[in-house]
Amino acid sequence: MYKGGKIIASLIIFVAFLTFPFFSNMGKANAGPENLQASLSQLQLAGKQCVEPADYMRANHMQLLIKWRNSAVRDGNTVYINSQGKSVDISLQSCLECHSTGAESNPVGMSNPEVSTSDQFCVSCHNYASVKPTCWSCHSGPEGATK
């Protein structure tokens, strides 16, 4: 190959450059929030449950929050009756009663040591998933919720 050495060397440098982010983040970015599972099982032990079962909340909390918002703001229905017949006040404060670091059910908080800068429940997961909801730019959240 004409100038084969240079071509191959350049190719190796190019590929190394291209894959640099993958290698430099290997093992780090995948570290999910710590204490998440511990906190959830702590809640279960205390006989507590989120607004709906945890599986449902994990998959659908965003749709549920949008329904809550439309119901409370537009229809004036400020009470949510969940699938077990329990009533919950439609407010982000209802979420924060449990999902706030320092709350009774969540004393230690949780964080992702590699990517998160906050130990708050919402933020630690959202940072991990690189989701940036704008809830706290208007609603008053717990300290550190906007990090």
Binding site: E52, Y56, A59, N60, Q63, L64, K67, R69, S71, V73, R74, D75, G76, N77, T78, V79, Y80, I81, N82, S83, S87, D89, I90, Q93, T134, S137, C138, H139, S140
Partner: protein, 268 residues
Amino acid sequence: MSINRRQFLRRAGIVTALGLGGSFVVIGAHGKKVDAASEFKPSQQGLVAKHWAMVVDMSKFQTEDDFKRVVDSCVSIHNIPDFGNPKDEIKWIWKDDFEHAFSGGENEYLTEDFKKLPFTIMCNHCENPPCVKACPTGATFKRPDGIVEMDYHRCIGCRFCMGACPFGARSFNYRDPRPFINPASLSPDYPTRTQGVVEKCTFCVERLADGLMPACVEASNGGLIFGDLDDLNSEVRKIISSKFTIRRKAELGTQPSVYYLMGGDDHA
């Protein structure tokens, strides 16, 4: 090695079918349960009415403090920012004189005293709200109980509603309001707004849902009377049907729900 057109089409078809079929399987396996067996209800202690309306008893607004007390109660509860200049001012409830509040309908040769008469001004929660017609996103809307409400989530900041409102009852956040809210009176129960969002008086819908009267009504010592205009026995209805009241720019046909009771010292 080469394939003919027939073979190519056949293989492409097979791959497409596999891809589509596979994606159905994956989506089906992870199908999201969006609907839980749940429902939404209004709160039990909430106040309800068919047509909320307000009467402003002018006789109860004499001193500067009468106005200030009412305005301040609203400012602290709703996290209203103070930008410190009149161009950016955010107003939910405020004081203005007769000449500016009632322009258009007055007699030409009113006495100077009368023109300077101070009035408490807020959103009129019109029966035919022009702001609602102008809003392209449905961010402002009329509730069945007559309250013209704002859904800040949907506001795109086009300010058509501000142009449409003949009462100047709407204010725009030209800047991020959070740094301009007095931290001492920051109320965590009510959201702040962001830059690019219009806001106005909402007759305290969030307090009505909790069974409380609007903040200004509580702070007014009887100067503001709030109730159901469609209820024959309500105080507002009794006052409006028996005393002399005026409304701002009634000639425009928007049917304001805020009535100003003139010289009504002897009511309830």
